[in-house]
Amino acid sequence: MAENIDLTLLDKTLEDYASVKGSLITVLQHAQDIYGYLPEEIIKHISDKMSIPVAKIMGVATFYTQFRLKPVGKYLIMLCKGTACHVNNSDLIEKTINETLGISDGETTEDGLFSLKNVACLGCCSLSPVMMINGETYGSLTPDKVIGILNTLRQNALEEGNEQ
């Protein structure tokens, strides 16, 4: 996959920030927005351009939960594991996703459709238990509701695939 990574997409970010001290996290955030994750080539590229050792960049990239070193699926499920969701049985929701998709926290389905990520709190506590998929929030979840949502998304992806 290395040959597909277009380093020039990051030029504008590096131009804006490479010489601004303390902006490594911002650059990594932009890079992840562009590529969906932080590929090794990009980390090396940032290291060259910003004169920051790869080891330090890796240190930062692995410290914060936002950064990913592997690509994610078409649908990124962010499952809220905050306190209010915990009290309202988010563990059962997690189990349902695990069983339905066959993936655990941090994994992606083999077809590349779904990734699951447990997150600390989405701040929609009154709708708990909650998950967010590609920016859309789904609240007051039950196992049946979750299965329904996942099926719909899978169906949508299939239809999109057929259209192409």
């Binding site: 001290k21 911002t26 410290f63 306190t83 997150v119 506590c125 009154s126």
Partner: protein, 583 residues
Amino acid sequence: MKIVVGEGSCGIAAGAAKVYSAFEKLTEKYDGIDLGFTGCNGMCFLEPIVDIYDDNGDLTRLVKVSENDCEAIIKAVSENSLEDLEALKISKEDEEFLNKQTRIALRHCGLINPEDIDEYLACDGYKAVEKVLKTMTAQQVIEEIKVSGLAGRGGAGFPTWFKWNAARNSEGSEKYLICNADEGDPGAFMDRAVIESDPHSLIEGMLIGAYAIGAGEMVVYVRAEYPLAVKRLEKAIKQAEERGFLGENILSSGFSCKMRIKAGAGAFVCGEETALIESLEGNRGMPRLKPPFPAQEGYWHKPSNINNVETYANVAWIILNGGEKFAQMGTENSKGTKVFALTGKIKRGGLVEIPMGMTLREVIFDIGGGIRDSKKFKAVQMGGPSGGCIPESLLDTVIDYKALAQTGAIMGSGGMVVMDESTCMVGMAKFFLDFTTKESCGKCVHCRLGTKRMYEMLTRIVEGNGRPGDIELLEELCYSVKDGALCGLGQTAPNPVLTTLKYFRDEYEAHINNKKCPAGECSALIKYVIDSSKCVGCTKCAKNCPVNAISGKVKQPHAIDADKCIKCGKCRGNCNFSAVEVR
């Protein structure tokens, strides 16, 4: 007539954006109806909320509105027949939720359009900055804050004036004012609501602080998970720059100050001020040794002041209304109001701002309406992973920094998670330790390894493998971590364990000695049984059982084979007759 849709993050999650766009399409057809939006008024349990203001400014509030209701609403509004909307109107009982609050930090939330500076200006916006820049010295500002008794609302409750004064007195001309909007406490969302609903009040409060300490640059460190807050704050900063409230020579006073946003990348420890500074500098967010304090050597080793969002949101009000008026509210050692995010097994969950000195019972039962589904109150968790669980016997504790600390919990940033009898307290402690173990930055041994060992022990207990002596060992470990950890994260991480041990020790003992979970939550320690007197033999449970552990004929009581049962709970969730019991 004006229709205003509440569009905070939680409102949008509940469908407010769809409601808004439905109205948008419809208003084209009707003349004389303005459509607008506002932030979050805190009544999360009633979202999406639509406020209708008539030409006299009188309000009719509609709740739990769906996009399908919009046509009827707009018709009623255009025909001036609001009585047709009776079914959607907020109930008298739910109105109490707001009526019993006193709002300062949330004073504009849900009332103004957060993306329009003119609406903020119309309610005395930026008047406090004007007053400060034109009529007060920095020392007078600090004095006014001192009189108000405002303390840091992020959790520690340190007097705000003291921090400001220390930063002011530190040598050097380059100083920074930082806002901690990295609201990491799971179950708290006050700061997000303030930024999303009233971003200019944050800017104004920070500007006053910057003037007081002599800072030329302000930075807001916002959680990456709050995209709407970032977007609205960016817009607000731009508008404030255009109107001359930010930048060079503000209001021709000679005072200059700029402002920028830095998005966090997800690390709970960055709520600790020195870790936050490390993160701002582009490093791993690991706390520094104190002293030197940020007021002496902070961001880029220059004097810096850090407060959280809610603290700054009070400042403009204090300057305009006087510190004394603020100090009249509250108790002897806790002044003013505090915002809480009331969540969990509560009837009316949302944002609550109340004067200090109110009791927990008043907040949970009078404002929050008590426990939902007619279950029994068990505990309230305050202060998130750094706080503790307060039992029913202490519900008359007043909200006050000292009184809450005496219970073993803390005021915290404002998370208030209510639990009923079905929540296992050992499981709750394990939940928080799971969180702190993952969020420990790893710098000091006590926190890195101590929290992990505690988590392992709690896991053992909830899985039915607890051993005699585990409770004592847990306690010993708690005190070691408390004493040995470098920063607030580690020092407070044992609090959820210590408070549950203090108030719910019998639950720990039941798990360890009797291998039972009194709340019926820990799957390793419970079994599902069908009550034959309630079972009507509908076969629904048997059909839904993933391992075929349920047998029985149609219209006859069913039974669960305990050896086959994997305790998934599907039978219980599916039973319409409450015949499946947990024992």
